[in-house]
Symmetry: D2
Subunit: 137 residues, 4 copies
């Protein structure tokens, strides 16, 4: 089941087109991923090992404008997990709507923050991710 | 030929991973697109008609970290043009390097800013875009 | 009594100095003011009348660094209210600490968002603000 | 004589009030300070010694709205210099206008970026700053 985080959209999230700007959107999506990692215990494991996830590829499709005063729900879900990378899907809906306003996919790797180098996704971090993945099959 | 814009990377562009954050990257890429539109005369046409380009899909692949003190060059190029949408490619290189640090593709539509609705890409705007497109064939 | 909002500090809030950047700080403080306005009913009154508060002067004193992994509490309090302007104080503390990490004062006016012009602070908005002000005397 | 940097204001600098948001303003002012430091040779000295300036107090007075399509000029000037701190003034004007749209004062200290601790402003950095200060008297 996806993790859900809700955000109210303020004036400072939107630009003079009147809608949430791409860059601000990425911050809201990143905050939703952090809360996902906080709520499922991943953040604690990452901090203990001084590891972090880095995005190497992302795709976003904007299907509906989000404007000041909207409240959005971000559904975050781990979709795939390889030995050294994985994919997280994030869907945005306006509260009370089933229509998807934004569909996004983030491809990530795990890095050692001190060495600034990729590391395999294994041990207790892998175990945790296998427990939260959408389709472990 | 692609349009080139150069940016120095400051502390405020980077996050505590020590590299340019995704959201900040999008602002630098957007600024590069604005300068492209300013330099080729497009911005003037858009403002006269109260039109604007909106991104509906974007894909970014981060191949190399960019850190504080780097200077990046953004190459911006219109790749395709349909009747109501088009695609702009933006490549980022660190100054003096041929290696691509970021590869991105932005799919856009044209909208009437007052009516907040898509409009066809035609008239003098189309003419201008056909002159700057990479592969008009 | 001041209104309190708590935020976890993420990598994207911090810059390559390793601490929360000034600009990001302002967004966190603004979000805390919005929640204050949401929780005390002010936001509803503003939206009904298409009014908004605009900052005309702000002063911030940074006394202690806030870094990734910190959790901050923002205390927001209306300090003074004139006929057309007022002052909000915002204090930031790291969770569990009494020491103030940031002290700030925002001087605001009320504007009609359609006319883009200042308006007096009166009627039900004034009544509400007089109820939440720190020192109504 | 103050250092001058010019910025065009884009949609992404402005919020749904239609004007440049406080947080974005701080980024533009910070970029102007970096260019000042780049142009007068300060940045090179700071990097060589792994030092950086940190803002400890700032005051901004917004006198006139800046909106999409405006081009602003930021005048940056070192006003005072103590043994361990100093003050930079930044004034913003819309291009071609003498009226000040924003008046700001930033109080800074010098820090060792490795030790994350304040250091005296002396040696070649002090010499350089004394050469660019407005009122050395």
């Amino acid at each position: 089941m996806p993790h859900e985080t809700s955000f109210p959209i303020r004036t400072f999230h939107t630009d003079s087109f009147g809608h949430v700007n791409n860059a601000k959107y990425l911050e809201l999506l990143e905050e939703a991923r952090w809360r996902y990692a906080e709520d499922n215990g991943l953040l604690k494991l990452l901090n203990k090992a001084n590891l972090g996830f880095i995005i190497i590829d992302m795709r976003l499709r904007f299907r509906d404008e989000v404007v000041e005063g909207d409240r959005i729900t971000v559904s975050t879900q781990l979709l795939t997990l390889g030995s050294a990378s994985g994919e997280v899907e994030q869907l945005v809906r306006k509260e009370g709507q089933s229509k998807i306003a934004l569909k996004s996919l983030f491809h990530f790797i795990l890095v050692d923050r001190e060495a600034r180098a990729p590391v395999p996704i294994d041990g207790d971090i892998r175990e945790l991710l296998l427990n939260v993945i959408a389709n472990p099959g």
